[in-house]
């Protein structure tokens, strides 16, 4: 290598300096196989900018960092004060009219900037080494992933589970492993392990891997067979919370496939399982995943009656007060879609908490939530104007509606609110109604 760095009087060779972390580069350069440092010529070929970008997550030695931008320097220049900066940054500093050294605050007696060739080479070499190490690790990971995939083809019993666990770890930690799996028929292999006789132990590992991969059209189609979905539904009902969420997410991914038919997710066991997830407040991730899949399933008109039949409406309505904003929106969306079928409207009407909870949510969370809550109230009140209208008014609907009309910019919302107000107030005389509304004096 031949580059000697003088550090505190000692003369070291560059390799040692970088390897032993003298430059504060930290451990991790130790690359096996004699691939220690790349020669300067080769390093030059690698574009420094690209390497810096790809190594974004790595901790860069402080001496390589420009004090102005706090980014690694690509073209370091030194001032007469001995401080080094990125050329473009210090020139910009000068162009703003400053002739001082930014870090020492000294006035410059010499405005020349000297390119610091030594530092530049060091930076380049350091990044090149880190980069090649990363690439090698990545290759190792890729290689290992393919290896394990081969092992999986023949492994049975406990060794199969061990192989799957390793594959899962690789896929979780390295995007290169994931890509490698997909490129080498991993999806098909994993998919073939899923069937009516797959044990839970195997199935849960396979699902965990699949859900982290980028599945293409044929991969999704392959997984959308009834027996495999059946297995996923079973695991969704029986597995640990992590497995439940994985199954939910995977099914959601499959629903995005072109050939997906509603029949594939029509299983009542699936719907019941999702509802259980949604009710489990100890695991908010599960709640959100369950709501998202329910929303996706709702989009299929033929499945709405099934969802209502398992009691989803009243359960969702009753869960609303305890939900966070993002869950509220999803739940309201589902309820609104369900209100488009007669069974849904009936269930909404029969649930005692529907009207009070909807009224409370008006103007409380977001505009879209208000819109959804309004639509639901409209559906219910339209079904039984006298009965529901009265309940709504008792729950304080009128004041909220007036608020919407006054403060919302959305003309559609305003119109809907006005219509709803009219519908609910049609049974009262004007004075009666106003008194019932318990309005504040200003609004009155």
């Amino acid at each position: 290598m031949g580059l000697d760095v003088g550090v505190g009087g000692q003369v070291l060779d560059l390799e040692t300096a970088v390897k032993d972390g003298i430059l504060g580069g930290g451990g991790g350069i130790g690359v096996g196989g004699g691939c220690g440092l790349i020669s300067t010529a080769a390093a030059e070929k690698l574009d420094l900018k690209k390497m810096i970008e790809e190594l974004e997550a790595v901790e860069v030695p402080s001496v390589f960092i420009c004090p102005i931008s706090l980014d690694p320097m690509r073209d370091p220049v030194t001032l007469c004060t001995g401080q080094t900066y990125e050329r473009s940054n210090i020139l910009k500093w000068f162009s703003m009219g400053h002739y001082t050294c930014p870090t020492t605050m000294q006035e410059l007696w010499d405005d020349s900037v000297t390119p610091n060739a030594t530092l530049q080479q060091l930076i380049h070499t350091w990044f090149a080494t880190k980069y090649s190490a990363m690439k090698k690790r990545s290759q190792d990971v890729q290689g290992r992933a393919i290896e394990v995939l081969e092992i999986l083809k023949k492994a049975k019993g406990q060794s199969r589970i061990e192989a799957l666990k390793e594959l899962r770890q690789l896929a979780a930690a390295h995007s290169t492993a994931r890509k490698s799996l997909v490129d080498n028929g991993g999806v098909g292999s994993l998919s073939s392990l899923l069937g009516p006789f797959t044990t839970h132990a195997v199935g849960s590992e396979v699902i965990a891997i699949l859900v982290s991969l980028d599945l293409d059209y044929s991969g999704k189609t392959n997984l959308t067979q009834p027996a495999k979905i059946s297995l996923m539904v079973d695991m969704l009902n029986e597995g640990s919370i992590e497995t439940r969420i994985n199954c939910t997410r995977l099914i959601e991914m499959l629903m995005e496939g072109k050939d997906f038919v509603s029949e594939n997710v029509s299983s009542l066991s699936l719907l019941v399982g999702l509802l259980k997830l949604v009710k489990n407040e100890r695991h908010p991730n599960g709640v959100i995943a369950g709501l998202r899949l329910l929303k996706a399933i709702c989009s299929h008109e033929s499945l709405r009656a099934s969802i209502v039949s398992i009691g989803a409406v009243s359960q969702l309505v009753e869960l609303l007060p305890g939900f966070k904003a993002d869950c509220i929106e999803l739940a309201l969306h589902i309820l609104e879609v369900l209100s488009t079928v007669p069974e849904g409207r009936l269930a909404l009407k029969e649930c005692a908490k529907t009207i009070p909870n909807m009224v409370k949510l008006l103007m409380k969370v977001s505009e879209s939530c208000t819109q959804l809550a309004l639509a639901i109230l409209w559906a219910v009140c339209k079904l039984a104007p006298e009965e529901c209208g009265a309940l709504a008014v008792e729950a304080g609907l009128a004041a909220k509606l007036l608020l919407v009309i006054q403060s919302c910019y959305n003309p559609v919302l305003k119109q809907r609110s006005a219509e709803l107000l009219k519908l609910c107030s049609s049974n009262y005389t004007a004075t009666n109604f106003i008194s019932k509304c318990k309005l504040t004096t200003t609004i009155q």
Partner: protein, 384 residues
């Protein structure tokens, strides 16, 4: 009465000895109760002919020492009985069809076999059957091959032709051998109505030898008599294995020839699900006789059964079989959720596709059942 007896004292025995005995008995009872608690009880339920007893036999073959020679020998008379019963049903059936059907000629037995048929029918009606000799076997064989009988066999679903008919008829030579000893397969096919309750205790040993679960499997008879009186005795069972023969959608009951078997199964399943004693019990639904279902679906549309009247075929061949199976499965699933009150929704409910005669399949299926039950235990113990 009871209290009177207990007040009796054996004043001749020294008190210490008596106390010692009582303590020993109590200790034994406590030990047994504790051991009992760890035994998982499984109850096989289902209508007659659903395959419960076959599953029972399979478990015996898989996890116990199987059938010893003596036990195998004991099945000889049952196998022979099945042969006589079968040929009688076919013979009498052909006569009935010849009388009632428009195309009666195809059900008329050839003159060569006519007398043989009458004789066999008489034998089949007796309480005790004769030994199956080579001569008798030949006669039965020739009658079986009579075109009229084969025509009758194709209408087997309207009569009470047992599912083992074909298997035994094709093996007559072997069955009638002087030194005939039933094979495992013969035993699995053999049909005898289960009366009372039979039970076996076993421990499935899988790859994970530490499994250590002990199961006790109960098989009760399938017919409709007085079920409600004894069902509550099974409160606290870990799981109910409900067998439903999905191939019987076009068949009628043995006890009531006007009742469709599938409808009967549907009613029973509903009834069982609603029983208070099974509130927390796991339900394993075995959709059985898939091999027969596979063959039947191509020729007999599902909608002959009222429960499946809304079935629409979409394709043909293997795909159609799968589609039909998924339809039936969905129907059972719907029925389960309709019959399960919201507070019981936490019950484990799983559906398995089975062919009870296939030992490998039963083994695989039971492995899954075992896994599910073990996970359930961990879950209930708060460890999952």
């Amino acid at each position: 009465m009871g209290s009177l007896c207990s007040k009796q004292r054996h004043f001749d025995k020294p008190e210490n000895e008596e106390n010692g005995q009582a303590a020993e008995i109590e200790r034994r009872i406590e030990q047994e109760t504790k051991a009992e608690k760890h035994i998982q009880k499984l109850l096989l339920l289902g209508t007659g002919d659903s395959g419960k007893s076959t599953i029972f036999k399979q478990i015996k073959l898989l996890f116990q020492s199987g059938f010893g020679e003596a036990e195998l020998k004991s099945y000889t008379s049952i196998v022979h009985a099945n042969v006589y019963q079968t040929i009688k049903i076919l013979h009498d059936g052909s006569k009935e069809l010849a009388q009632n059907e428009a195309e009666s000629s195809k059900y008329i037995i050839s003159s060569a076999n006519k007398d043989v048929g009458e004789r066999l029918s008489e034998i089949g009606g007796r309480l005790n059957y004769p030994q199956l000799t080579k001569e008798l076997a030949e006669e039965i064989g020739s009658l079986w091959n009579d075109p009229a009988i084969q025509e009758t066999y194709s209408r087997g679903n309207e009569l009470q032709v047992p599912d083992c008919a074909h298997y035994f008829m094709e093996n007559l030579q072997r069955l009638s051998d002087a030194n005939y000893l039933p094979t495992k397969e013969d035993v699995l096919y053999a049909r005898v109505r289960t009366t009372g309750v039979v039970e076996i205790q076993f421990s499935p040993v899988g790859e994970n030898k530490k499994s250590g679960e002990v199961y006790r499997l109960f098989d009760v008879g399938g017919q409709r008599n007085e079920r409600r009186k004894w069902i509550h005795l099974f409160e606290g069972v870990t799981a109910v294995i409900f067998c439903a023969a999905i191939s019987e959608y076009d068949q009628t009951l043995f006890e009531d020839e006007h009742k469709n078997r599938m409808m009967d199964t549907k009613e029973l399943f509903e009834w069982v699900l609603k029983q208070p004693c099974f509130e927390k019990t796991s339900f394993m639904l075995f959709l059985n006789k898939f091999d027969l279902f596979e063959k039947k679906v191509a020729n007999v549309p599902l909608n002959v059964c009222e429960w499946f009247k809304d079935y629409q075929p979409v394709s043909s061949g293997k795909q159609e079989v799968e589609h039909a199976y998924e339809f039936v499965k969905k129907k059972f699933e719907e029925l389960y959720f309709q019959s399960t009150s919201p507070d019981r929704v936490d019950r484990v409910f799983k559906i398995y596709r089975t062919t009870a005669l296939d030992q490998k399949l039963v083994k695989k299926t039971f492995k899954l059942v075992d896994e599910t039950l073990r996970r359930r235990n961990l879950f209930e113990a708060g460890l999952l």
